[in-house]
C-alpha cells in the first residue's frame, strides 16, 4: 500500500535545492551593506552600487537554476 503519492516534476525540487546557495549569498551581500551603512552612513551610495552588481551576479545562479528546472521539467 502506498501511504501517500506525490505527482510532479523532480526539476522543481532540484530548483528548490539550487536556490539555497543564491539565497544565502544574496543575504550575505545585503547583510554586509546594512553593516557598512551602520558603520559609515556616508558611504552608502558607493556600497549600494557594488551591492547591486554583486546581487545580480549571485542571483544569476538562481536564474540558471529556474531555466534548468523548466528544461528538465519533463523528466
Amino acid at each position: 500500500m502506498t501511504p501517500m503519492e506525490l505527482v510532479g516534476s523532480l526539476g522543481i525540487v532540484g530548483y528548490g535545492l539550487g536556490a539555497i546557495g543564491p539565497g544565502i549569498g544574496v543575504g550575505l551581500i545585503f547583510a554586509s551593506v546594512i553593516q557598512g551603512t551602520a558603520r559609515q552612513p556616508e558611504a552608502r551610495g558607493a556600497m549600494m552600487g557594488t551591492a547591486w552588481i554583486g546581487f545580480a551576479v549571485t542571483e544569476a545562479l538562481a536564474i540558471i537554476g529556474i531555466a534548468l528546472a523548466f528544461v528538465f521539467g519533463g523528466l
Partner: protein, 267 residues
C-alpha cells in the same frame, strides 16, 4: 481579440483545475493572417510610442522654473544620468546616456505592463525580447571595446587582467573569456526573462487558483482559501512592481558596467 485577453481567462478544463505553466505564455496571434503579430509585439510597439511621447513632451517645454511635469521628467532623467551612467561609467558617460535612458525606459515600461490592468503580461516574459536586448548590448559593449583598444588589444584587455603572473595565464584567460564574452549576455537576458516569467507565473497561480477555489468548489474551507489567495495576490502585485522596477534598474546598471569595463583604460 482572443489573443489580447489570453492569460487572463481562468484555465478550466473538463477534469478540474489546470495549473498555469509554460503554456500560459503561448499567446495566439491577434489576427489570424499575421502569425508574428501577437500581444507581446503589440505591447512593445505601444511602449515605444509611450516612451517617445514621454521624452519628447519632457524635452520640448523647458522652463527655468519647472512645472510638475517637467520636474517628473527631470527626476527620471537625472536618476539614469547620475545614479547609473555617471557612477558606473565615469567621466566619459555622456556618449552612452541616450542608450542607457532608452534601455531603462523600454525595459521599465515593458515590465510594468505585467501589472498594468489592461495588459497584465510583461513583455520580457517571452524569452525573445530579452534575447534581443542582450544581443544589442553585447554588440555595443564589444564594439565600444574594439573601437577603443583595437580587435587584439580588446581581446587582451578583456581576457587578461593586469598583474596576473604568467603561470596563471592558461587558467585565467579561458575563464575570463567565457565569463566576459559568453556568459554575460546569457545571464543578462535570462535574468530579465526569468524574473518576469516567474513573477507572472506567481500572479497567475494566486489569481487563477484563488478564482477557481472561490467559484468552482463546494466546501467552505476551499472558498475561504480562495478569498485569502485573492487578497494575498494584491501583495504579490506589490512585490511584482518592486521586482519589475529593480530588474529594469539592474539591466541598465549591468549594461553600463559592461560598457565601462570594456572601455576602461589600462591600469
Amino acid at each position: 481579440m482572443s489573443g489580447f485577453l489570453s492569460g487572463l481567462v481562468p484555465l478550466e478544463t473538463a477534469d478540474g483545475f489546470e495549473a498555469p505553466g509554460v503554456h500560459s505564455f503561448d499567446v495566439p496571434p491577434l489576427f489570424e493572417s499575421v502569425p508574428w503579430f501577437d500581444k507581446y509585439m503589440l505591447q512593445a510597439i505601444i511602449s515605444v510610442i509611450l516612451i517617445l511621447a514621454f521624452w519628447l513632451i519632457m524635452a520640448r517645454k523647458n522652463a527655468l522654473v519647472p512645472s510638475k511635469g517637467q520636474y517628473l521628467g527631470e527626476t527620471a532623467y537625472f536618476f539614469v544620468r547620475n545614479t547609473i551612467a555617471r557612477d558606473m561609467i565615469g567621466h566619459d558617460f555622456r556618449r552612452y546616456l541616450p542608450l542607457l535612458i532608452a534601455l531603462f525606459s523600454f525595459v521599465l515600461v515593458n515590465n510594468i505592463f505585467g501589472v498594468f490592468p489592461l495588459s497584465l503580461l510583461p513583455t520580457p516574459s517571452h524569452v525573445g525580447w530579452p534575447y534581443g536586448l542582450a544581443i544589442m548590448v553585447w554588440v555595443i559593449y564589444n564594439g565600444v571595446g574594439i573601437a577603443k583598444h583595437g580587435p587584439f588589444g580588446y581581446l587582451k584587455h578583456t581576457t587578461l587582467p593586469s598583474g596576473v603572473p604568467a603561470f596563471m595565464w592558461p587558467l585565467i584567460i579561458p575563464l575570463e573569456f567565457v565569463s566576459n564574452i559568453i556568459v554575460r549576455p546569457i545571464t543578462l537576458s535570462l535574468r530579465l526573462f526569468a524574473n518576469m516569467f516567474a513573477g507572472h507565473l506567481l500572479v497567475l497561480v494566486f489569481v487563477l487558483g484563488g478564482e477557481y477555489l472561490l467559484l468552482h468548489s463546494e466546501s467552505i474551507v476551499n472558498k475561504t482559501a480562495g478569498v485569502v489567495a485573492l487578497i494575498f495576490s494584491m501583495a504579490i502585485f506589490g512585490l511584482e512592481i518592486f521586482v519589475q522596477s529593480l530588474q529594469a534598474f539592474i539591466f541598465t546598471v549591468l549594461t553600463a558596467q559592461y560598457i565601462s569595463s570594456a572601455a576602461a583604460e589600462e591600469h
